[in-house]
């Protein structure tokens, strides 16, 4: 433990309204802490810069899953375990259920929250590509009211977001419109359990014969932010899946990602694997014409 507890203030007002009032009064002065799976790691390592924290763990206003016929609304304070246990998440948003199941260990899934993961904005976060693929919207709240923001626009740079200092993420809204899609979720980490992704992918596709009607591909650990591969999607949507389109897709993918070499992996590896996974997904849906392998083309 490399921090001194007496240097850190933590309060737990117990109500969302009180928390909002506090961060409205002193924007940026208080760091919200939910399950602590990220903040407490920094704290233990002596790297937590914020010294005033406000607990939002287990606030009922943030820990709910509401469903209407059109929409699933997931409170930002829901844990990964909450997500994994929810039948609608499992049946209609399996990419999110998979992402939740990959995140840390069971103990960390009992504490880590969806909102915390979004706000922490790690490009390697396992559940965030799913939110991109499902066109999630974020509901942000403050004492000044609510606003909705497409999740696609939320991350603006490495650990940079559009969340304002006086706001909290209250919920993630998902339209229940993906029943006709095939889905693909893969995490590639250094081992099978509790590992930080080298590449993760969440993808949805609607296929008609050999033709790709619609396609949504999102990846983690491939750029400074969780990334939706919109150029790659555009190359493939409306096309037949064949060797030529596969090659074009790989080129597009390579042009729109920007992975790094770090202590966990290499850029070349991440690019090669992301391309392979995309082909694995589409080859699984439209077989018979296997695309080339291992192309770093």
């Amino acid at each position: 433990m490399r921090s001194r507890p007496s240097d850190y203030e933590l309060i737990a007002p117990g109500k969302l309204a009180s928390v909002l009032e506090l961060i409205g009064r002193e924007p940026g002065g208080w760091l919200p802490i939910a399950g602590g799976t990220e903040i407490m790691v920094q704290y233990g390592a002596g790297k937590l810069t914020a010294q005033k924290l406000v607990s939002i763990w287990n606030l009922p206003e943030l820990r709910f899953i509401d469903r209407t016929p059109e929409e699933l609304r997931i409170g930002a304070g829901c844990t990964y375990t909450d997500l994994r246990n929810d039948p609608v998440v499992n049946h209609e948003f399996p990419l999110l259920a998979s992402g939740a199941s990959w995140t840390g260990s069971l103990a960390n899934q009992n504490r880590g929250t969806l909102g915390g993961n979004i706000r922490n904005a790690s490009p390697a976060a396992d559940s965030l590509p799913a939110l991109l693929a499902y066109d999630a919207e974020l509901l942000l709240v403050s004492t000044r009211g609510e606003r909705k923001l497409p999740y696609l626009d939320f991350h603006t740079g490495y650990k940079q977001t559009r969340l304002m200092a006086h706001e909290l993420i209250q919920a993630v809204c998902l339209k229940r419109k993906f029943s006709g899609y095939a889905n693909f979720a893969r995490k590639v980490g250094p081992r099978n359990a509790q590992a930080i992704s080298k590449v993760c992918m969440a993808a949805l596709a609607k296929i008609s014969g050999r033709r790709i009607e619609d396609l949504r591909i999102a990846v983690g650990s491939m750029a400074p932010v969780p990334l939706r591969l919109q150029q790659t999607e555009r190359v493939l949507i409306g096309c037949e899946w064949n060797r030529e389109s596969a090659r074009a897709a790989r080129r597009a993918l390579q042009s729109e990602v920007a992975p790094i070499d770090d202590i966990r992996s290499t850029s070349a590896y991440r690019i090669a694997v992301a391309g392979n996974l995309l082909e694995e997904f589409l080859n699984g849906l439209i077989p018979n014409e296997p695309a080339e392998h291992h192309g770093n083309s």
């Binding site: 921090s3 081992r191 099978n192 359990a193 966990r264 070349a268 590896y269 694997v273 392998h293 291992h294």
Partner: protein, 750 residues
Amino acid sequence: MSPRIVGVSVPRKEGISKVTGQAKYVDDLSFPDMLYGATVRSSIARGKITGVHLGGGIPWDEFTIVTAKDIPGKNVVSLITEDQPFLADGIVNHPEEPILVLAHPDRHLLPLAVAAVQIGYERLPSIHTIEESEEQGEIVWGSDNTFKTYVINKGDVDRIWKDAAWIVEGEYSTGAQEQLYIENNGVIAQYSETEGVTVWGSMQCPFYVHKALMTLTGFPEDKVRVVQTETGGAFGGKEEYPSMISGHAVLLARKSGRPVKIIYDRVEDMAATTKRHPSRTRHRTAVDRNGKLLGGEIDFAIDGGAYCTLSPVVLSRGAIHAGGPYHWPNIRVRAKAFATNTPPHGAFRGFGAPQSLFGLECHMDKIARTIGLSPDEFRRRNLLLQGQSTATEQVIQEPINLPHLLERALKLSDYHAKVQGFSVHNRSSHKKKGMGIAAFLHGSGFTGSGERYLNSLVGVEALVDGQVRVLASSTEFGQGTNTILCQIAAETLGIEYDDVRMAPIDTRQVPNSGPTVASRTAMIIGKLVQSAALGLQHTLIASGFLASGESREEFQAACKTYIERFGKLQSFSRFEPPANIFWDDEKYHGEAYPAFAWAVYVAEVTVDTNTYSVSVDDFVALQEVGKVLHPYLAAGQIEGGVAQAIGYALYEKVVWQDGRMVNSQMTNYIMPTSQDVPPIRVYFEEVPCPYGPYGAKGIGELPMDGPAPAIVNAVIQATGKSFHAIPLLPEDILLGFVNEPSETQAEVYR
């Protein structure tokens, strides 16, 4: 009469205290007025210290601060070569080298204080690889960057090359590996000028610490006391390093006059303490037209880090094992330990053997591919047979049947059918499957004359109630020392397992039975326990209180009578080298070990060519270890060793930057979880060994040696690509696919 207790899986001696959370590890202990200690370490790889500045914001007057100037005795961690200081004095030779130690009552203030100390340096050039050390562009240790060199010679290697049908060359390398015991290093020290020093700590070798503290403090033997606390894993990582941390705590306790506890956190433990030596093995091998080894040259090099520590001994074991379990009519092994500006590498389960055996067993597969034999057939033609000799010309006397071991392992793993099935499967799947074999051996006990020098002493003591204590400095750190030594004593004395316990591991209470390392506890110490127990029994019989072969009740009554009459009832036994064992330290020739354990392992893997990741799907571990004293503990040793070796092969990469480990967190140094281990199927063959108690041999290190080459051989079979280094990460496998390097540089002479 068959044994009653030996060979039975009795409950672990300290098992209840472990499963109930009552076992006390060093960080669970607390003393009145205790301070906490922390270490200020070098931030550069090599240089002169030009100044030390205590930065602002810290109440320095509340701190105890110790530098090299405060050392009462010698500033040297006494081990083999006296080159490593407890605290750097004017010069640093590796990152994380200790410079100052601090103590304060508030453990949470220490990290802030450590961060506030500014050290000024004048940098000197540093080197970080075997190759850089070898080039001698910069001399960082001694006159030639060399800690130790050995040459082993058998036959005349220079004459074989002209007769070779094939000459196969290869180079193999292994990375550093962190022991990653889950309990970090830690100690508590207490100091008094009159009473001397006492250290409680997590450690394997209390008498190593004892010796180091005598040198540090200048105290005589009886004023240094070392007590082992429950130790949460070690794997060699707590063989030599506890001397360092104990010294630091003692210096702080001496200066402050209060007990001092130092517990490393994970980052510090990983970055600053020892790891497995990185290695490079080069092979040049001559094979005749029948696929028999004519001979070979092996060049084995290890990176020892900045100070000598145990590198000569690690090198020795690596060199002796470099030829493996094969019959080499002619062989030359050259071995060298190099200095670099990296924290010293140290003891780790296997101790040099996993490194050289990785090279050998990968090379065996390469030879087989080159000459067109299957990996099993090439090995079958060359495995050592009884009566043949190893590279040091140690004649294998025991009735070991290695070809049989190989056949059984192939059968247990369904090897042939699987190889055939996979060759079909692999044509149409992106998941390529393969099988890999490794045949290997591991010597039990200290190398060569080592046991002679150790001169270990073990005692057995009976108490008035007939309970018995084993007196030995052999430590428990998970392997089962407490359990097997008590089993042996109980079996020998004809009493129950519950009647025997270990005396506390305290240098004031137990004799020096040597370090708990080198797969020596079961065989060497176990045998001494057995003979001490027999001695105790003979004392009772000779005194007329016990007729031979009496019951437990009569034994207990006899103890009572004896003790009431004469006081203490103890029996000691000292190591006697077996008469027919001879080792030449100069020529590195002769009986390297009293016995070897033998094994053939088979790994089954899948390589996903979309992610380039490897999963081990099945693992067969077949070994001959003499009599198995405790089936569950023995299997547990093999399973744990195999898992650790899977990590060595596929996951565990130490990422270095100028000699510093930069991934010193569990998040970024990847060890296997419960979801990464295959079914590990463990089988034993038991050929009783005359030198061990009830025929037992050493077992603890063996399972570390074979899995890595078996796995890499399986990956090569699955992919058809060439790999020769571990850890073999997905990124490396990707490169194998992209570069498609040519398989072999074999020169075919005829």
